[in-house]
């Protein structure tokens, strides 16, 4: 129950345990717990139950707190009319591929930049980090033009999953996270592996990667949720109804579909990321904060 972090914060423990401080502390805690539940969980509750209401019930005033006659019809309609199974599969496929490409190529690049350090490595790292400064919206048009006619190769990537997978690799933030983590791995381990005659690939596979599970977990979660949440880029490069992602598919249908069905579809689209979050919340939290950089 009590989670005593042991460190001193703004207000001392002693002050919070005594008389007035104790009362204020518990009152404030109760207010915050209730308030946050209402603010952050309330809308989600409204969303899930609202989509269970009939068109009539959702329009009534005052609105009902519980659906009077819960009907799963909206969810069934959303699933069937929007072809959600296909949309979810597409999104999953893009996310899994982006994850795979990033894990292989970004890890290899971060390993080279951190441990192998070839000539011009720092220049390449600098150029990669420079892309963090470029706002995504600025690049959207030239990126689109590039994808419809890839320079040199003259390939059109529209409606091809590579249009999502390959740009996902150009993620300087993830490379940076990985490199920082690899930097913290002692050089002696590398030297020892070298003495034993291990090749760089072998060292990466048998020494670096097993030590880097926490950061690989964080990067994986970032990679998957980024694809799942992305909207404009998949909307542009996956124009066909068969290749759409779930967010884009729901948007495309939102005009001519009853709003309860749209919300039901939105609920279904959100379930996978919420589940990922609830399972991996510890990794996500630590990845966002300090944990990802601990050795």
């Amino acid at each position: 129950m009590a989670q005593d972090s042991g460190t001193r914060t703004l207000i001392s423990h002693a002050q919070l345990r005594r008389g007035r401080g104790k009362v204020i502390y518990w009152t404030l805690l109760a207010v915050v717990v209730v308030g946050f539940t209402l603010v952050f969980l309330g809308p989600l509750y409204w969303m899930v139950t609202g989509a269970l209401k009939s068109g009539q019930e959702i329009a009534q005033t005052p609105p009902s707190l519980f659906p009077k006659d819960p009907q799963s019809q909206n969810y069934a309609d959303a699933w069937n009319n929007l072809n959600l199974a296909k949309l979810l599969f597409n999104t999953f496929y893009y996310a899994a591929g982006a994850l795979l490409f990033q894990l292989v190529l970004d890890t290899a690049a971060a390993y080279a930049l951190s441990k192998l350090r070839p000539v011009f490595g720092n220049v390449i790292l600098g150029l990669m980090l420079a892309t963090l400064m470029i706002p995504a919206m600025v690049l959207i048009v030239p990126q689109y033009v590039t994808v419809i006619d890839l320079p040199i190769l003259h390939i059109n990537l529209l409606d091809s999953p590579f249009a999502i997978w390959l740009p996902a690799v150009a993620n300087a933030f993830n490379i940076f996270l990985l490199k920082r983590f690899f930097d913290s791995i002692p050089e002696e381990l590398m030297a020892a592996a070298l003495m034993d005659g291990a090749t760089p690939l072998r060292t990466l596979w048998s020494i670096i990667l097993p030590m880097s599970r926490p950061i690989l977990g964080v990067v994986s979660i970032f990679a998957v949720t980024a694809v799942w949440k992305d909207f404009l880029w998949p909307k542009l490069v996956m124009p066909s109804p068969e290749t759409r992602t779930v967010s884009v598919g729901i948007y495309a249908f939102s005009g001519g579909t009853p709003m309860n069905v749209v919300v039901a579809a939105s609920v279904i689209a959100a379930i996978p990321t919420v589940i990922v979050f609830l399972i991996f919340q510890r990794n996500i939290m630590s990845g966002l904060t300090t944990g990802s950089l601990k050795g």
Binding site: Q3, R8, T9, L16, V32, P43, W46, M47, I58, P62, L105, A108, A109, A112, L116, P118, V119, G121, I124, T131, I134, P135, M137, V138, L139, I140, V141, P142, V145, T146, L166, P167, V169, A170, F173, I175, F176, R180, D183, E187, A191, M195, T225, W228, F231, V246, S247, I250, Y251, S254, N260, V263, S266, A270, V274, F277, M285, L288, T289, L293
Partner: protein
């Protein structure tokens, strides 16, 4: 997100030379050196190709495109024509006005609130994990899902909407939300803050946990109250992260796009929602004016870069 980097700075180890050419094999031949470098670049090549095609090349291409015009497959240099056309568009100034308004509102709401929430959460000894999960949960929703929730249920202009029913229950005046040009921006900022504040809260929490407890103790012994402790200990100790997050947030919010697209069908009542990012999309993919859109992108880049430069100068001068 970039804060992770700041939080970890102190753990940055020294950079001894690469172990490969070092150690007992110091007397490396030229051939060996070349081979080591080739191996290194072989590991890099995949990512470098992706950066080349999808980041570096488009960056240059965007600038080049903004000075060209492609008609019926023929590309010609047109000087500043695209810029002139884009600036002459009556939506141009509206979009910039809206974008600045959104950014400032989002800063007022989305910047102070997460910091205060983090300070509050950091004081609690109970329910910490639960509260953190709650705050971060909306960040994990696909933005389209969250915005449909706001559009259809929260911002229903009738009395059946979530916000209007709450306002009514509290005997406050209800609002037309997205139907009213005055409320469009605040409504979009509320939705955007709800969706995005979790990340900032967690980053601030991590920063707060790094403040040495002795500082608070010393301040308390000197008779400093809670507010003075926040002002003279908490804020100075987290200044770096406060400064960095403000900048990241401004750059991110100035590119807002999906909020007007879904909540306001793009432009909103009386053009009250049009953003610069939406205008780029509109020009490029509806009016079939990719060159004009590229020019607008370059203008946006210049504005954001100029802003960042001024900001970095101002915030470093205070030191």
């Amino acid at each position: 997100m970039a804060i992770t980097t700041v939080a970890g700075t102190k753990r940055e180890p020294g950079r001894p030379a690469s172990p490969y050419p070092a150690g007992p094999r110091r007397r490396t031949s030229l051939g060996r050196k070349v081979r080591d470098n080739l191996t290194g670049h072989a590991f890099l090549i995949g990512a470098v190709i992706c950066f080349g095609f999808f980041s570096w090349y488009p960056m240059i291409r965007g600038v080049v495109m903004s000075f060209q015009r492609t008609r019926r497959g023929v590309t010609t240099w047109v000087g500043w024509d695209n810029y002139d056309r884009i600036i002459a568009d009556p939506s141009f100034w509206t979009a910039w006005k809206n974008t600045f308004y959104f950014t400032i509102l989002a800063l007022v709401l989305g910047y102070a609130v997460p910091f205060l929430v983090a300070i509050l959460l950091n004081e609690f000894r109970h329910a910490k994990g639960y509260l953190r999960i709650l705050v971060y949960l909306p960040v994990m929703l696909p933005p389209a899902s969250a915005l449909f929730l706001f559009k259809f249920y929260a911002y229903d202009p009738g009395d059946a909407g979530l916000f209007n029913s709450v306002l009514k229950a509290l005997h406050l005046p209800t609002s037309q939300w997205m139907q009213s040009p005055e409320m469009t921006m605040p409504a979009m900022v509320i939705a955007s803050t709800w969706m995005n504040m979790g990340g900032a809260v967690l980053i601030y929490l991590a920063a707060l946990q790094n403040i040495p407890g002795e500082l608070y103790e010393a301040a308390e012994l000197d008779g400093a109250g809670i507010w003075r402790r926040i002002r003279h200990v908490t804020i100075p100790q987290t200044r770096l992260i406060l400064v960095l997050l403000a900048m990241l947030q401004i750059v991110a919010t100035m590119q807002f796009f999906i909020e007007p697209l879904i909540l306001a069908n793009g432009t909103g009542a009386e053009d009250s929602a049009t953003s610069v990012a939406y205008l780029i999309y509109q020009h490029g993919f509806f009016q079939n004016d990719l060159n004009g859109a590229a020019a607008l992108g370059v203008i946006m880049l210049v504005v954001l870069a100029g802003f960042s430069a001024v900001y970095v100068r101002l915030s470093s001068r205070q030191d």
